[in-house]
C-alpha cells in the first residue's frame, strides 16, 4: 500500500512539471471560471497561446503568489475589485506594464498611473427602491440614507462584503472618518433587518416588503432579470443614481495585472490587451451586465434601461488604502 502510494505521488509530482515549450500564459483569477473561461478560450483560438487557469478568492490567490515567491508560475492576476489589486501592488507582487493600447483604451482614473494594474469593467452600487412605494424625489444622496426618515426601511448586506467596505472607504476619502462614522451609525439605525444574504437577497427582501430601499451592485439586479426565479422581484424595483449633483455614484472595477515574476510576461500583456478589445468588452457588457471601460461598446438592454449616470471620479487607489479604516468604522457602528 505504502509503496503504491509512493509511486503515485511520484507520478503526481512529475505532473507538476508542466512543459513550458509551447506558448502559454498562466492566469490566477478571482473572477470565477464561468465568467472568464469563454473569453480565454477565444483568446487561445485567435492566438494559439494556451491559457492555464486557477480561480479562487482574491486574497488567497495573493497569499499563494506571495508564498510561491520568485518561482510563482502566475503571469496574469485577475481581480473583481480594486482593493486587492492595490494590495498586490503594495506587497510587491506586480510589475508595471507600458502599453499604448491599454493606455488609450482605459480612462486614466480606472488604471494605476504607473501601469501596475488596469481596470477591465466597472460596476456601480446605486440605491434600488421599490417602484411606487418610494418617491424618487425623496432620494438624493448616500448621505441622506442615514436620516431618520428612512428608519427601518433599508436593506443592505453584511459589512463582511468587499463592496460595502469599498463604498465606506470611498466615503471616508471624501467626507473624512468622523462624518462617515456618524453616517454609518445612522444607517445602521435605519436597517429593516440584521444584514444577511447577498446583494440579490436585499433586492428580493425589498420586493417582498421587508424594506423600501436596497443597496446593491447593478449586475446583480441585471442578472435577476435573466433568472426565472428572481425576475418578478427585479421588475418590482427601480434604480436611483445617488449623488449626481456632487461626486457621483460609487463604482468599483474588475481588473487585471501582470505578476512580478511572470515567466510569460509578453503573453500576459497580450491577453490583457485582448481583454480591452471590442469583442471582450462587449461580452462582459452583454453576458454579465457590467459596464465596459472602453467607450462606445454596446451595453445589454437591461443596462440601458437603468439609464446613464455620473460615476465617482475618486482615484480607485483610495479604496484600497482606506479599506481597513472602513471595516473599523463599520465594526464601531455595530454593522454586522
Amino acid at each position: 500500500m505504502l509503496m503504491k502510494f509512493r509511486l503515485l505521488s511520484l507520478v503526481l509530482l512529475t505532473s507538476g512539471f508542466a512543459s513550458t515549450q509551447a506558448a502559454e500564459v498562466n492566469v490566477y483569477s478571482a473572477r470565477q471560471q464561468e465568467l472568464i473561461k469563454p473569453l480565454l478560450d477565444k483568446f487561445s483560438q485567435q492566438t494559439g497561446i494556451k491559457v492555464n487557469l486557477i480561480t479562487g478568492k482574491p486574497d488567497e490567490l495573493l497569499s499563494r503568489m506571495q508564498s510561491e515567491g520568485r518561482n510563482s508560475p502566475a503571469d496574469l492576476l485577475i481581480s473583481t475589485d480594486v482593493g486587492r489589486l492595490y494590495r498586490a501592488q503594495q506587497a510587491g507582487l506586480l510589475q508595471p506594464l507600458q502599453s499604448n493600447t491599454l493606455e488609450q483604451a482605459i480612462p486614466a482614473a480606472l488604471r494605476d498611473p504607473a501601469g501596475h494594474w488596469f481596470g477591465l469593467t466597472t460596476r456601480a452600487r446605486p440605491i434600488i427602491y421599490v417602484t411606487g412605494k418610494v418617491d424618487p424625489k425623496d432620494l438624493s444622496t448616500y448621505e441622506d440614507l442615514a436620516s431618520p426618515k428612512w428608519r427601518g426601511k433599508i436593506c443592505i448586506r453584511s459589512s463582511d462584503n468587499i463592496y460595502n467596505q469599498s463604498m465606506l472607504a470611498g466615503m471616508i476619502a471624501v467626507l473624512g472618518e468622523e462624518k462617515t462614522q456618524a453616517w454609518a451609525n445612522g444607517l445602521v439605525q435605519n436597517f429593516a433587518q440584521p444584514p444577511k444574504g447577498g446583494d440579490r437577497d436585499q433586492i428580493k427582501a425589498a420586493a417582498a416588503g421587508v424594506c423600501d430601499i436596497a443597496i446593491a451592485n447593478t449586475y446583480y439586479l441585471a442578472a435577476m432579470f435573466d433568472d426565472a426565479k428572481d425576475a418578478a422581484a427585479a421588475k418590482a424595483v427601480s434604480v436611483f443614481w445617488p449623488n449626481q449633483q456632487d461626486r457621483g455614484v460609487h463604482i468599483n472595477i474588475s481588473g487585471a495585472a501582470v505578476a512580478k515574476y511572470a515567466p510569460n510576461a509578453k503573453q500576459a500583456a497580450q491577453l490583457l490587451e485582448y481583454m480591452t478589445g471590442a469583442d471582450a468588452q462587449a461580452w462582459y457588457a452583454q453576458t454579465n451586465h457590467e459596464y465596459p471601460v472602453v467607450q462606445g461598446v454596446a451595453r445589454s438592454s437591461v443596462l440601458q434601461g437603468f439609464g446613464e449616470f455620473k460615476a465617482d471620479a475618486l482615484p480607485l487607489v483610495k479604496l484600497g488604502e482606506l479599506n481597513q479604516q472602513a471595516i473599523q468604522t463599520m465594526d464601531k457602528a455595530g454593522w454586522k
Binding site: F5, S67, E68, N71, D160, A228
Partner: protein, 540 residues
C-alpha cells in the same frame, strides 16, 4: 516504554509533529502582537465572535448527538417498517455541504420565499404583522448544522453498537433488568464514547464552518478570521484568531478525553449470534417510521428536491459543465485521500494503544486538531512550509549547480492531499479509536504470548475486528473530502476543478439556480460510495 525506545518509533512522534506543523504556524503569529488591533476587536466584535461560535457549536453538537444517537439506538434495537432502507438513507445528509442546505432552506422559508408568500396571500397579512421563525439566525443555523451533521454521531454510535456483544442484553434480561433500566445503566454508558466522539466532530466542524454563517450574517470566530485577514489585511491578527479557534478545539478534545478517563469498554469476546431487533407493533411501529422519515425529509429529501427543481429550471447549466472531468477529479481525490487518511490514522491510533509516554500520546491527539480549523487556514499552513522548501531548494540548486528546480511540491496534488490529511485526520482517528477501544488489551496479550508479532497482531486480530470501524471511517472521510472546498480552492494545480469548487463559484456569484447543478452532482457522486461503504460497514 523506556526512553531508549523513543527514537525507534518515528511514526509516533515525527509523523504527528509534521502534521502539527501547519497548525503551529498560527500560534507563531503571536510573536507579532498588535495591541491596537486587539483593543479594537475586544471592544467591538470579539465578544460576539466567541459567543456565537460557542453557542453554535454547543447547540448543533447537542442536537446532532440527540438525533444521531436516538436514531442509531432505534434502528439497532427495533424492527419497524422501512428499517433496512433507513439504515442506508440516514447517512445521505452527509453528502450535502452545510451551506447548500442553508441556501435551499432560506429560499423556502425566508420572508420572500414561497411559503411565507403563500401565507400572506391566504391571510392578507403584511411584513411585521405576524411571527415566523427566522431561518437566518443562530437558532436556524443550529438546526441546519444538526440536520446535516448528525450522521457523524449516528455512524459512530452504530459502529459501537454493532461491536457490543448481545450477551450484555441477555445477561440483563436474565437478571430481570427492565428495558428502561437497561438503556440507562448499560446501553448509554456503553455507547457514550461513540456519542461524545461524534459530537466532538460535529462541534469541530461547526467551529470551522464559514459558508453557512457568512450567508446567515452571523459573526463567528471563523468569519472574524477572514474579516481580519482579507478586510483589514492583517495576516498575523487573523492567525491569532485562528489560534483561539485551535485552543477551543483543544479544550473540547481534552474534555472529551476527560469524560471517559476511567471508562474502559470492551467486547466480552466474539459472541456466537447477533442480536435480533425487537419487533414494534401497530401505532408504535408507524410512529418510529414516521419519526425517521421526518428527519430524512428535513435533512435530505427536501433540500435535494429543491436542488433538483432549480437545476431543472436552468437546463443550460447542465450543458456548460465539463461533468466527467469534474466528477473524475472529485472522486479520484476523495479515493486517494481516503486511503492515505486511513493508513495514517491507523498508525497513530495504534500508537495510542502501545502505552506510549504521555507527551507522545498528547502529540498524537493534537494532530487531530486540524478538523476545527477553517480549511483556508490549514491550506495556508500547508502552502507556506511547502513553498518555503521549494524556494530554498531552488536557490540551493541554482547556487550549487546552476539549475533551477522551481516549485516541486506546492501547486501539485500532493499539497492538496497533505491539507486533507491535516484537516480530516480527526474524523478517521475518532472512528478507528472508538472501534479499537472495544478490543480488550488482554486479547493483545494473549496473542503476544502465543508468539504473534505486532504486525501479525494487527493483521490477524485487529483488522478483522476493526472492519466496521474502518469502513465507517472511510465513508466519513470520503464524503468529507468530496465536499471539501477552501483548501481545494487555494491549493489546486492549474486547470484542476472539482464539483465543490464549481458549486461554490456559482453560489458565491449568487447564481443559486446554476449552482444547484454541480451541488446535485456532489450529492449523486456521494451516493454510490455511501451505498457501497454502508453495505460493507453493515455486513461486518
Amino acid at each position: 516504554m523506556r526512553a531508549s525506545a523513543f527514537w525507534r518509533h518515528p511514526q509516533w512522534w515525527l509523523l504527528p509533529a509534521c502534521l502539527l506543523l501547519p497548525l503551529l504556524v498560527v500560534y507563531v503569529s503571536w510573536g507579532q502582537f498588535d495591541a491596537r488591533l486587539w483593543s479594537h476587536l475586544a471592544t467591538t466584535v470579539l465578544p460576539d465572535y466567541l459567543l456565537n461560535s460557542l453557542l453554535l457549536a454547543a447547540g448543533a453538537g447537542g442536537l446532532a448527538a440527540l438525533l444521531g444517537a436516538s436514531l442509531a439506538w432505534l434502528l439497532h434495537f427495533y424492527q419497524f417498517p422501512g428499517r433496512r432502507l433507513f439504515q442506508l438513507l440516514l447517512i445521505l445528509p452527509l453528502a450535502l455541504p452545510a451551506y447548500i442546505i442553508a441556501y435551499s432552506y432560506t429560499a423556502l422559508l425566508d420572508f420572500s420565499g414561497p411559503l411565507q408568500q403563500g401565507l400572506r396571500q391566504l391571510t392578507g397579512l403584511g411584513y411585521g404583522d405576524y411571527w415566523f421563525p427566522q431561518v437566518r439566525s443562530v437558532g436556524g443555523a443550529i438546526c441546519l448544522f444538526a440536520l446535516v451533521l448528525y450522521p457523524y454521531v449516528y455512524l459512530l454510535t452504530r459502529a459501537a453498537l454493532a461491536g457490543q456483544s448481545p450477551r450484555w442484553q441477555e445477561a440483563s434480561q436474565i437478571l430481570g433488568v427492565s428495558r428502561r433500566r437497561y438503556f440507562w445503566a448499560v446501553l448509554l454508558p456503553l455507547t457514550r464514547p461513540a456519542v461524545f466522539g461524534g459530537m466532538a466532530l460535529v462541534m469541530m466542524e461547526v467551529f470551522a464552518d464559514y459558508g453557512t454563517v457568512q450567508y446567515f450574517g452571523i459573526p463567528t470566530l471563523t468569519t472574524g478570521i477572514f474579516r481580519t485577514w482579507f478586510g483589514m489585511n492583517d495576516r498575523s491578527g487573523a492567525a491569532q484568531l485562528s489560534s483561539l479557534l485551535c485552543t477551543l478545539a483543544l479544550a473540547l478534545m481534552l474534555l472529551e478525553l476527560y469524560s471517559r478517563r476511567q471508562l474502559r469498554f470492551y467486547h466480552a469476546g466474539q459472541a456466537g449470534k447477533t442480536l435480533q431487533p425487537q419487533k414494534l407493533k401497530g401505532v408504535r411501529a408507524w410512529l418510529a417510521t414516521f419519526a425517521v422519515s421526518l428527519v430524512l425529509w428535513l435533512a435530505f429529501f427536501w433540500p435535494a428536491l429543491a436542488l433538483l427543481v432549480w437545476s431543472l429550471e436552468t437546463p443550460a447549466a447542465w450543458l456548460s459543465l465539463d461533468y466527467l472531468q469534474l466528477l473524475g477529479n472529485s472522486l479520484s481525490l476523495a479515493a486517494l485521500s481516503t486511503v492515505l487518511l486511513l493508513v495514517v490514522a491507523l498508525v497513530l491510533v495504534y500508537g495510542l494503544r502501545q502505552g506510549l509516554p504521555a507527551w507522545q500520546q498528547l502529540l498524537i491527539r493534537l494532530s487531530g486538531l486540524g478538523y476545527a480549523v477553517p480549511g483556508t487556514v490549514i491550506a495556508i499552513g500547508v502552502m507556506w512550509p511547502l513553498s518555503a522548501f521549494d524556494n530554498w531548494l531552488d536557490l540551493f540548486m541554482e547556487q550549487q549547480f546552476g539549475v533551477r528546480t522551481g516549485l516541486l511540491l506546492s501547486g501539485t496534488v500532493l499539497a492538496l492531499l497533505l491539507a486533507y490529511l491535516v484537516r480530516f485526520l480527526a474524523v478517521a482517528m475518532q472512528a478507528l479509536e472508538s472501534g479499537l477501544s472495544q478490543i480488550k488489551p488482554s486479547m493483545d496479550q494473549a496473542a503476544a504470548s502465543l508468539g504473534c508479532s505486532r504486525w501479525q497482531l494487527l493483521r490477524r486480530l485487529h483488522l478483522p475486528l476493526l472492519k466496521t470501524s474502518l469502513w465507517t471511517a472511510a465513508l466519513l472521510v470520503f464524503v468529507d473530502v468530496l465536499k471539501e472546498l477552501p483548501a481545494t480552492l487555494l491549493l489546486r494545480p492549474f486547470n484542476f476543478d472539482t464539483l465543490a469548487v464549481r458549486t461554490f463559484e456559482l453560489a458565491s456569484d449568487e447564481q443559486l439556480a446554476a449552482a444547484a447543478v454541480p451541488a446535485l452532482t456532489i450529492v449523486l457522486a456521494g451516493l454510490l460510495p455511501v451505498i457501497l461503504l454502508n453495505k460493507a460497514a453493515l455486513k461486518n
